[in-house]
Protein backbone atom coordinates (compact mmCIF):
# COMPACT_ATOMS: atom_id res chain seq x y z
CA UNK A 1 0.00 0.00 0.00
CA UNK A 2 1.33 3.41 -0.98
CA UNK A 3 1.98 6.10 1.57
CA UNK A 4 -0.28 9.16 1.07
CA UNK A 5 2.73 11.40 0.43
CA UNK A 6 3.89 8.95 -2.24
CA UNK A 7 0.51 9.15 -3.96
CA UNK A 8 0.61 12.94 -3.75
CA UNK A 9 4.06 12.95 -5.39
CA UNK A 10 2.80 10.66 -8.13
CA UNK A 11 -0.07 13.02 -8.95
CA UNK A 12 2.22 16.05 -8.92
CA UNK A 13 4.64 14.23 -11.23
CA UNK A 14 1.85 13.35 -13.69
CA UNK A 15 0.51 16.91 -13.64
CA UNK A 16 4.00 18.33 -14.22
CA UNK A 17 3.92 20.32 -10.99
CA UNK A 18 7.34 19.24 -9.67
CA UNK A 19 10.46 21.38 -9.75
CA UNK A 20 13.43 20.10 -11.74
CA UNK A 21 15.16 18.76 -8.58
CA UNK A 22 11.98 17.09 -7.27
CA UNK A 23 11.32 15.50 -10.64
CA UNK A 24 14.87 14.09 -10.91
CA UNK A 25 14.66 12.66 -7.37
CA UNK A 26 11.20 11.14 -8.03
CA UNK A 27 12.29 9.57 -11.32
CA UNK A 28 15.28 8.01 -9.51
CA UNK A 29 12.78 6.47 -7.07
CA UNK A 30 10.75 5.11 -9.99
CA UNK A 31 13.81 3.34 -11.33
CA UNK A 32 14.31 1.62 -7.98
CA UNK A 33 10.66 0.76 -7.35
CA UNK A 34 9.16 -1.26 -10.24
CA UNK A 35 5.69 -1.41 -8.62
CA UNK A 36 5.55 2.35 -8.30
CA UNK A 37 6.95 2.72 -11.83
CA UNK A 38 4.23 0.49 -13.28
CA UNK A 39 1.52 2.42 -11.48
CA UNK A 40 3.02 5.72 -12.63
CA UNK A 41 3.06 4.55 -16.24
CA UNK A 42 -0.56 3.38 -16.06
CA UNK A 43 -1.75 6.60 -14.43
CA UNK A 44 0.09 8.78 -16.93
CA UNK A 45 -1.43 6.77 -19.83
CA UNK A 46 -4.91 7.21 -18.32
CA UNK A 47 -4.34 10.92 -17.78
CA UNK A 48 -3.14 11.41 -21.38
CA UNK A 49 -6.10 9.48 -22.71
CA UNK A 50 -8.59 11.53 -20.66
CA UNK A 51 -7.05 14.82 -21.76
CA UNK A 52 -7.17 13.73 -25.39
CA UNK A 53 -10.87 12.91 -25.19
CA UNK A 54 -12.12 15.82 -23.13
CA UNK A 55 -12.40 19.31 -24.59
CA UNK A 56 -10.09 21.90 -23.04
CA UNK A 57 -13.07 24.20 -22.46
CA UNK A 58 -16.64 23.12 -21.86
CA UNK A 59 -19.50 25.35 -22.79
CA UNK A 60 -21.81 26.39 -19.95
CA UNK A 61 -25.26 25.20 -21.06
CA UNK A 62 -26.97 28.42 -20.08
CA UNK A 63 -26.26 31.61 -18.18
CA UNK A 64 -27.84 30.51 -14.91
CA UNK A 65 -26.50 26.93 -15.07
CA UNK A 66 -24.40 26.89 -11.89
CA UNK A 67 -27.03 28.58 -9.70
CA UNK A 68 -29.67 26.19 -10.99
CA UNK A 69 -27.55 23.12 -10.40
CA UNK A 70 -26.84 24.21 -6.81
CA UNK A 71 -30.53 24.87 -6.21
CA UNK A 72 -31.53 21.54 -7.74
CA UNK A 73 -28.95 19.72 -5.62
CA UNK A 74 -30.17 21.41 -2.43
CA UNK A 75 -33.75 20.39 -3.26
CA UNK A 76 -32.63 16.82 -4.01
CA UNK A 77 -30.72 16.60 -0.72
CA UNK A 78 -33.76 17.83 1.21
CA UNK A 79 -35.94 15.26 -0.57
CA UNK A 80 -33.45 12.46 0.03
CA UNK A 81 -33.31 13.38 3.71
CA UNK A 82 -37.10 13.34 3.97
CA UNK A 83 -37.30 10.00 2.16
CA UNK A 84 -34.61 8.49 4.37
CA UNK A 85 -36.55 9.52 7.47
CA UNK A 86 -39.72 8.00 6.02
CA UNK A 87 -38.16 4.72 4.88
CA UNK A 88 -35.78 3.85 7.73
CA UNK A 89 -38.39 2.40 10.12
CA UNK A 90 -40.10 0.62 7.23
CA UNK A 91 -37.68 -2.33 6.86
CA UNK A 92 -39.20 -4.45 9.59
CA UNK A 93 -42.67 -3.78 8.21
CA UNK A 94 -41.47 -4.81 4.73
CA UNK A 95 -40.09 -8.09 6.09
CA UNK A 96 -43.45 -8.79 7.75
CA UNK A 97 -45.18 -8.12 4.42
CA UNK A 98 -42.90 -10.59 2.68
CA UNK A 99 -43.98 -13.31 5.11
CA UNK A 100 -47.63 -12.91 4.07
CA UNK A 101 -48.99 -15.74 1.82
CA UNK A 102 -50.45 -13.32 -0.74
CA UNK A 103 -47.09 -11.60 -1.26
CA UNK A 104 -45.78 -14.09 -3.87
CA UNK A 105 -48.99 -13.82 -5.93
CA UNK A 106 -48.95 -10.00 -5.85
CA UNK A 107 -45.26 -9.97 -6.69
CA UNK A 108 -45.83 -12.16 -9.74
CA UNK A 109 -48.62 -9.86 -10.93
CA UNK A 110 -46.40 -6.80 -10.45
CA UNK A 111 -43.62 -8.47 -12.43
CA UNK A 112 -46.06 -9.22 -15.26
CA UNK A 113 -47.18 -5.56 -15.39
CA UNK A 114 -43.56 -4.40 -15.31
CA UNK A 115 -42.72 -6.81 -18.10
CA UNK A 116 -45.60 -5.46 -20.20
CA UNK A 117 -44.31 -1.89 -19.87
CA UNK A 118 -40.77 -2.98 -20.66
CA UNK A 119 -41.94 -4.70 -23.84
CA UNK A 120 -44.13 -1.68 -24.76
CA UNK A 121 -42.01 1.31 -23.78
CA UNK A 122 -43.91 3.78 -26.01
CA UNK A 123 -47.25 3.41 -24.23
CA UNK A 124 -46.95 6.80 -22.57
CA UNK A 125 -44.77 9.81 -21.91
CA UNK A 126 -42.81 9.84 -25.17
CA UNK A 127 -44.75 12.75 -26.64
CA UNK A 128 -45.49 14.72 -23.49
CA UNK A 129 -43.72 17.77 -22.20
CA UNK A 130 -42.05 17.20 -18.84
CA UNK A 131 -40.92 19.29 -15.91
CA UNK A 132 -37.61 17.75 -14.85
CA UNK A 133 -36.98 19.94 -11.83
CA UNK A 134 -38.39 23.09 -10.32
CA UNK A 135 -37.33 25.45 -7.61
CA UNK A 136 -39.24 28.34 -6.07
CA UNK A 137 -36.91 30.79 -4.25
CA UNK A 138 -39.79 31.90 -2.01
CA UNK A 139 -40.09 29.20 0.66
CA UNK A 140 -43.84 29.91 1.02
CA UNK A 141 -44.38 28.86 -2.59
CA UNK A 142 -44.93 25.22 -3.42
CA UNK A 143 -44.30 24.05 -6.99
CA UNK A 144 -46.25 20.94 -8.01
CA UNK A 145 -45.90 19.28 -11.39
CA UNK A 146 -47.99 16.64 -13.09
CA UNK A 147 -49.42 15.68 -16.45
CA UNK A 148 -53.15 16.10 -16.91
CA UNK A 149 -54.40 13.54 -19.42
CA UNK A 150 -57.78 15.25 -19.80
CA UNK A 151 -56.21 18.57 -20.64
CA UNK A 152 -53.39 16.93 -22.61
CA UNK A 153 -51.01 19.31 -20.88
CA UNK A 154 -48.17 19.32 -18.40
CA UNK A 155 -48.96 21.42 -15.36
CA UNK A 156 -46.64 23.42 -13.13
CA UNK A 157 -48.82 24.67 -10.30
CA UNK A 158 -47.41 27.43 -8.12
CA UNK A 159 -49.33 27.51 -4.85
CA UNK A 160 -48.79 30.10 -2.14
CA UNK A 161 -47.90 33.04 -4.41
CA UNK A 162 -48.84 36.50 -3.19
CA UNK A 163 -51.93 37.78 -4.98
CA UNK A 164 -51.60 40.57 -7.51
CA UNK A 165 -53.51 43.51 -5.96
CA UNK A 166 -57.05 43.60 -7.36
CA UNK A 167 -56.78 47.30 -8.19
CA UNK A 168 -53.72 46.72 -10.35
CA UNK A 169 -54.42 46.76 -14.07
CA UNK A 170 -52.79 43.68 -15.57
CA UNK A 171 -52.57 44.29 -19.28
CA UNK A 172 -51.30 42.11 -22.06
CA UNK A 173 -49.09 42.73 -25.06
CA UNK A 174 -49.08 41.09 -28.49
CA UNK A 175 -45.54 40.34 -29.65
CA UNK A 176 -44.79 38.72 -33.00
CA UNK A 177 -41.03 38.64 -33.15
CA UNK A 178 -37.87 39.80 -31.42
CA UNK A 179 -34.32 40.78 -32.27
CA UNK A 180 -31.31 40.12 -30.05
CA UNK A 181 -28.62 42.75 -29.83
CA UNK A 182 -25.68 40.87 -28.24
CA UNK A 183 -23.51 43.99 -27.97
CA UNK A 184 -26.16 45.69 -25.84
CA UNK A 185 -27.23 42.44 -24.10
CA UNK A 186 -30.80 43.33 -24.94
CA UNK A 187 -33.75 42.07 -26.95
CA UNK A 188 -36.15 44.32 -28.81
CA UNK A 189 -39.73 43.11 -29.18
CA UNK A 190 -41.88 43.93 -32.23
CA UNK A 191 -45.64 43.78 -32.71
CA UNK A 192 -47.44 42.31 -35.75
CA UNK A 193 -46.91 45.56 -37.69
CA UNK A 194 -43.15 45.42 -37.15
CA UNK A 195 -43.16 48.31 -34.68
CA UNK A 196 -40.67 48.10 -31.80
CA UNK A 197 -42.77 47.89 -28.63
CA UNK A 198 -40.22 47.49 -25.85
CA UNK A 199 -36.72 46.33 -25.07
CA UNK A 200 -35.72 43.73 -22.45
CA UNK A 201 -32.31 44.11 -20.85
CA UNK A 202 -30.77 43.54 -17.40
CA UNK A 203 -30.12 46.00 -14.61
CA UNK A 204 -26.97 46.06 -12.45
CA UNK A 205 -28.37 43.25 -10.26
CA UNK A 206 -29.14 41.04 -13.24
CA UNK A 207 -32.89 41.53 -12.97
CA UNK A 208 -34.89 42.07 -16.15
CA UNK A 209 -35.67 45.63 -17.18
CA UNK A 210 -38.44 46.31 -19.69
CA UNK A 211 -38.10 49.66 -21.44
CA UNK A 212 -40.90 50.97 -23.71
CA UNK A 213 -39.76 51.88 -27.24
CA UNK A 214 -42.75 53.91 -28.36
Amino acid sequence: MKHPSEEHDLIRWIDGEMSETERTTFEERLKQDPVLATEARQMRALSTSLRAHLPAEMRVPHADYFNTQIEVRITQMALEETRAKQTTPGWSALLQWMRQPWFALTGAAALAVLGFFLVNPATGGASESMILSSYAPNTHVQARTYHDDGAEATVLMLDGLDAVPAERKVSGINIHRSAVEPELASTTMYDHQGTAVFMVSRDALGNPRITPRR
Binding site: D64, L132, A153, T154, M157
Partner: protein
Amino acid sequence: MKAILSALSLVFCTSLACAQAPSPPDASSVKHATDGHVWGALIFATNDASQLTGGKEPVHDELPKLKERLAKVFPFKHFEILGQHRQDIFREYESWVVPSRDLFMKIDSKGPADKGGVNLHLQVWREQQVLVKSDALLRKDSPLFIGGPPWKEGRLIFVLFLERN
Protein backbone atom coordinates in the same frame (compact mmCIF):
# COMPACT_ATOMS: atom_id res chain seq x y z
CA MET B 1 -7.94 75.63 -59.33
CA LYS B 2 -6.36 74.42 -56.07
CA ALA B 3 -9.69 74.89 -54.28
CA ILE B 4 -11.55 72.84 -56.93
CA LEU B 5 -8.97 70.04 -56.73
CA SER B 6 -9.18 70.01 -52.92
CA ALA B 7 -12.98 69.85 -53.03
CA LEU B 8 -12.91 67.04 -55.60
CA SER B 9 -10.38 65.01 -53.58
CA LEU B 10 -12.50 65.52 -50.44
CA VAL B 11 -15.62 64.22 -52.24
CA PHE B 12 -13.62 61.28 -53.63
CA CYS B 13 -12.15 60.34 -50.24
CA THR B 14 -15.55 60.60 -48.55
CA SER B 15 -17.21 58.38 -51.12
CA LEU B 16 -14.35 55.88 -50.86
CA ALA B 17 -14.66 55.78 -47.07
CA CYS B 18 -18.41 55.21 -47.36
CA ALA B 19 -17.83 52.35 -49.81
CA GLN B 20 -15.24 50.70 -47.58
CA ALA B 21 -17.11 51.00 -44.27
CA PRO B 22 -20.62 49.62 -44.77
CA SER B 23 -23.15 50.61 -42.15
CA PRO B 24 -23.69 47.93 -39.45
CA PRO B 25 -26.63 45.62 -40.19
CA ASP B 26 -29.95 46.42 -38.59
CA ALA B 27 -30.24 44.28 -35.43
CA SER B 28 -33.79 43.31 -36.33
CA SER B 29 -32.61 41.70 -39.59
CA VAL B 30 -29.78 39.58 -38.09
CA LYS B 31 -30.68 35.90 -37.84
CA HIS B 32 -29.33 34.00 -34.84
CA ALA B 33 -29.34 30.21 -34.52
CA THR B 34 -32.48 28.85 -32.87
CA ASP B 35 -33.60 25.58 -31.28
CA GLY B 36 -37.31 26.16 -31.74
CA HIS B 37 -40.16 28.61 -31.67
CA VAL B 38 -42.70 29.02 -28.87
CA TRP B 39 -46.00 30.72 -28.26
CA GLY B 40 -46.51 32.10 -24.77
CA ALA B 41 -49.72 33.57 -23.43
CA LEU B 42 -50.92 35.17 -20.23
CA ILE B 43 -54.45 34.10 -19.38
CA PHE B 44 -56.86 35.39 -16.78
CA ALA B 45 -59.15 32.75 -15.29
CA THR B 46 -62.22 33.73 -13.30
CA ASN B 47 -65.73 32.62 -12.40
CA ASP B 48 -67.06 36.16 -12.52
CA ALA B 49 -67.59 37.31 -16.12
CA SER B 50 -67.86 40.93 -14.95
CA GLN B 51 -64.18 40.83 -13.98
CA LEU B 52 -62.99 40.04 -17.51
CA THR B 53 -60.98 42.85 -19.07
CA GLY B 54 -62.62 42.62 -22.51
CA GLY B 55 -59.49 41.37 -24.27
CA LYS B 56 -60.11 39.84 -27.69
CA GLU B 57 -56.82 38.06 -28.28
CA PRO B 58 -57.36 35.00 -30.50
CA VAL B 59 -56.43 31.48 -29.38
CA HIS B 60 -53.51 29.83 -31.17
CA ASP B 61 -54.67 27.87 -34.25
CA GLU B 62 -52.70 24.76 -33.23
CA LEU B 63 -54.12 24.66 -29.70
CA PRO B 64 -57.68 23.46 -30.18
CA LYS B 65 -60.13 23.84 -27.30
CA LEU B 66 -57.56 25.62 -25.19
CA LYS B 67 -60.14 27.10 -22.83
CA GLU B 68 -61.83 23.72 -22.31
CA ARG B 69 -58.45 22.16 -21.61
CA LEU B 70 -57.57 24.88 -19.12
CA ALA B 71 -60.92 24.31 -17.39
CA LYS B 72 -59.90 20.69 -16.74
CA VAL B 73 -56.96 21.89 -14.66
CA PHE B 74 -58.12 25.20 -13.20
CA PRO B 75 -61.57 25.38 -11.53
CA PHE B 76 -62.83 28.47 -13.39
CA LYS B 77 -65.54 29.12 -15.97
CA HIS B 78 -64.03 31.97 -17.97
CA PHE B 79 -60.58 32.14 -19.54
CA GLU B 80 -59.40 35.30 -21.26
CA ILE B 81 -56.13 35.73 -23.17
CA LEU B 82 -54.62 39.00 -21.96
CA GLY B 83 -51.50 38.93 -24.11
CA GLN B 84 -49.46 36.62 -26.30
CA HIS B 85 -45.95 36.40 -27.61
CA ARG B 86 -44.36 34.35 -30.42
CA GLN B 87 -40.69 33.88 -29.72
CA ASP B 88 -37.65 32.15 -31.21
CA ILE B 89 -35.68 30.05 -28.74
CA PHE B 90 -32.20 31.35 -29.37
CA ARG B 91 -29.46 28.75 -29.11
CA GLU B 92 -26.80 31.08 -27.73
CA TYR B 93 -28.79 33.87 -26.13
CA GLU B 94 -31.50 34.04 -23.54
CA SER B 95 -35.02 34.35 -24.95
CA TRP B 96 -37.80 36.35 -23.31
CA VAL B 97 -41.48 35.59 -23.62
CA VAL B 98 -43.34 38.68 -22.49
CA PRO B 99 -47.10 38.55 -23.06
CA SER B 100 -47.39 41.04 -20.21
CA ARG B 101 -45.03 43.23 -18.23
CA ASP B 102 -46.59 41.80 -15.07
CA LEU B 103 -45.77 38.14 -15.68
CA PHE B 104 -43.19 36.92 -18.17
CA MET B 105 -40.66 34.17 -18.80
CA LYS B 106 -37.00 33.80 -19.56
CA ILE B 107 -35.91 30.76 -21.58
CA ASP B 108 -32.43 29.34 -22.00
CA SER B 109 -32.11 26.56 -24.52
CA LYS B 110 -30.33 23.40 -23.44
CA GLY B 111 -30.54 21.90 -26.91
CA PRO B 112 -32.86 19.63 -28.85
CA ALA B 113 -34.20 16.54 -27.05
CA ASP B 114 -33.44 13.03 -28.27
CA LYS B 115 -36.98 12.07 -29.30
CA GLY B 116 -38.21 15.48 -30.41
CA GLY B 117 -38.83 18.66 -28.53
CA VAL B 118 -36.35 20.91 -26.84
CA ASN B 119 -34.70 20.96 -23.40
CA LEU B 120 -35.15 24.28 -21.66
CA HIS B 121 -34.32 26.12 -18.50
CA LEU B 122 -37.30 28.31 -17.63
CA GLN B 123 -37.68 31.17 -15.22
CA VAL B 124 -41.05 32.76 -14.54
CA TRP B 125 -40.72 36.39 -13.46
CA ARG B 126 -43.16 38.72 -11.83
CA GLU B 127 -41.63 42.15 -12.43
CA GLN B 128 -38.30 42.01 -10.53
CA GLN B 129 -39.00 38.76 -8.69
CA VAL B 130 -38.35 35.27 -10.00
CA LEU B 131 -41.24 32.99 -9.03
CA VAL B 132 -39.90 29.65 -10.17
CA LYS B 133 -36.94 28.15 -11.99
CA SER B 134 -37.44 24.91 -13.88
CA ASP B 135 -35.68 22.51 -16.16
CA ALA B 136 -38.19 21.25 -18.67
CA LEU B 137 -38.56 19.22 -21.81
CA LEU B 138 -41.07 20.93 -24.09
CA ARG B 139 -42.62 18.87 -26.83
CA LYS B 140 -44.88 19.83 -29.67
CA ASP B 141 -48.64 19.35 -29.11
CA SER B 142 -48.05 19.19 -25.36
CA PRO B 143 -48.45 22.65 -23.83
CA LEU B 144 -47.23 23.66 -20.43
CA PHE B 145 -49.78 25.28 -18.11
CA ILE B 146 -48.27 27.30 -15.27
CA GLY B 147 -50.64 28.27 -12.46
CA GLY B 148 -49.55 31.76 -11.46
CA PRO B 149 -50.63 34.24 -8.78
CA PRO B 150 -54.24 34.98 -7.81
CA TRP B 151 -55.69 38.19 -9.24
CA LYS B 152 -59.06 39.69 -8.37
CA GLU B 153 -61.14 36.58 -7.64
CA GLY B 154 -59.40 34.50 -10.26
CA ARG B 155 -55.93 33.46 -11.25
CA LEU B 156 -53.27 34.35 -13.80
CA ILE B 157 -52.06 31.44 -15.93
CA PHE B 158 -49.05 31.25 -18.20
CA VAL B 159 -49.27 28.92 -21.20
CA LEU B 160 -46.16 27.87 -23.12
CA PHE B 161 -46.50 25.96 -26.36
CA LEU B 162 -43.81 24.69 -28.74
CA GLU B 163 -44.89 25.73 -32.22
CA ARG B 164 -41.98 24.13 -34.04
CA ASN B 165 -38.45 22.82 -33.49
